[in-house]
């Protein structure tokens, strides 16, 4: 448990995505716990820029040698930018999940949704429960 990195400058979805807000844009990636659980990531599929997404929609895919998982939009809005370098460098997800390995940016249509996401303490509890 203590091994995982949790950052308090962002919020988390119970499905292990993080979102960090800059103005009306939210940057989205997956948590350090998620990349640990997946193990070595070998493939990332990103949405197209311009896609309208609703909170909870599966919008990206991340595959490791163990499993393939959907990445869900933690917030509603429009995909305005994707990390185009990430699909060619899937190992970034393991190396730097909160930095280099951001997945996409959403222009939020309902910024109030951000406050509904889990703060770092609440997210730690989710991870603790999954670890049991």
């Amino acid at each position: 448990m203590s091994d995982y990195i949790f950052l308090d400058d962002r919020r988390y979805a119970p499905t292990h995505e993080w979102a960090k807000v800059e103005g009306d844009i939210a940057i989205v990636g997956i948590s350090d716990y998620a990349q640990h659980a997946l193990s070595d990531v070998v493939y990332v599929e990103l949405p197209e820029v311009g896609t309208q997404v609703s909170k909870g929609d599966p919008v990206a895919v991340v595959e490791s040698v163990k499993a393939a998982e959907d990445v869900y939009a933690p917030l509603s809005g429009e995909i305005v930018e994707i990390n185009e370098e990430l699909p060619d460098n899937p190992e970034w997800v393991n190396e730097d999940p909160y930095g280099k390995a951001w997945f996409f940016k959403i222009k939020m249509s309902n910024p109030a949704e951000y406050d509904e996401l889990l703060d770092v303490e609440a997210y730690k509890k989710v991870v603790e429960e999954e670890e049991h």
């Binding site: 659980a37 070998v42 493939y43 595959e63 499993a67 190992e91």
Partner: protein, 487 residues
Amino acid sequence: MRGPEPTIYEISSPGRRGYTLPELDVPESDIPEEFLRDRLLLPEVAEVDLVRHFVRLSQKNFGVDLGFYPLGSCTMKYNPKVNEVAARLPGFTKIHPLQDPATVQGAMQLMYELQTYLAEITGFAATTLQPAAGAHGELTGVLMMRKLIHEGRGEPHRTKVLVPDSAHGTNPATTTMSGLQVVEIPSDKRGNVDLNELKKHLDDTVLGFMLTNPNTLGLFDEHLLELTHLVHEAGGLMYGDGANLNALLGITKPADLGFDVMHINLHKTFSTPHGGGGPGSGPVVCTEELAPYLPGPIVDVEEHDDHVHYIWKMPEHSIGRVKAFWGNFGVMVKAYTYIRMLGAQGLREVAENAVLNANYLQALVKKTYPVPYGFRTCMHEFVAQGKIEGAEDVRALDIAKRLIDYGFHPPTMYFPLIVPEALMIEPTETESKQTLDAFAEALERIAEEARTQPELLKTAPHEAPVRRLDEVRAARYPKLKDVPGME
């Protein structure tokens, strides 16, 4: 035996060949210019090189004829050789699918009887033998459900298919391929479908529920009858994934449990070769109501005064063909032979011994490894975890690789997804107590090695033709073609 075998292209040498053609006895005609290529990359080898290459490859392979193969969810039972004898009979091998039905009545009789046996074993009304594998059978079954609900019952608003979180990945894939939406239903603490969660999703948009029973945890759903009742009450249909039918043969019939349609894997339950030894076959059985939607043609019988005549018949509202010709016929001959050799009592004993073997092995393995649902009696398989106290760095993968050194095929790993570090073990009915004891002992010794010399596991296998493969590199930088001179 050590080291990689070169590819057939690396053995190739220009001008070498392994055949001679007879003298031309028809007028020669030239291939039109536009169909000719400068360079056709075919290997050129002598017969002896060819035979040695493939024999060497076969010696590096691990198959059920070589050792214990407890690959969970795959039912890697021994394939009796009498099946092969029957399938090689010239009456079955020297016929053509386009022949006049009057000249292949024997083959059609076999298909008709196999259709009948499979329907009888599962309690259903009708069968198609066309699908070529399990997932193909799933797609067939779900397309039939969709057509019945959307067209037959006139409810096109039903587009949701419920799938438990313990399901094979093919279930959601099938749903998506059928143009329907997947809704995942979590499992409860005893490994059953969580009925309270299920009830939240049962509305008039539900087309059906796809359930594997016993499920991938090797557990028979304890609320199955209530579950199938709830789905039917909501206007949905029950799809049965027959992957684990081996546990039920002769004990209970899926139709009696409330399923409407299911596929059967002949290459699992009915002992036909599997994996690289395939091909597979995934017949679909269904209720009276779904029967008109079966793909066709299927074999039907006409009764005459002094004889019967087998004919091809297209079901009335058929979803159409799902495969060219009649399905994988050779596989059907083998499955038919298996059923006839065992008979009803023998098939029941298959299930009894498959479940007994799995529970015996579960009891042994439980002493050394966590078995999260080990408090329940399992069916034909169980799921342990590759977690060893005092060796926290060791993973399921390392244990699996080390098992190869002990002469066993590793179990299925990292599936089902709801069990971390899963080792899914299915011994099947064809293994002796000695083999099960030896496997459990190997797992115990590996746990001991993990504590005292973990490097041994981390670098395993040591005794196989190749050492630990770098699967991360293979997935990140796949080299898909290895043909000299080919881009």
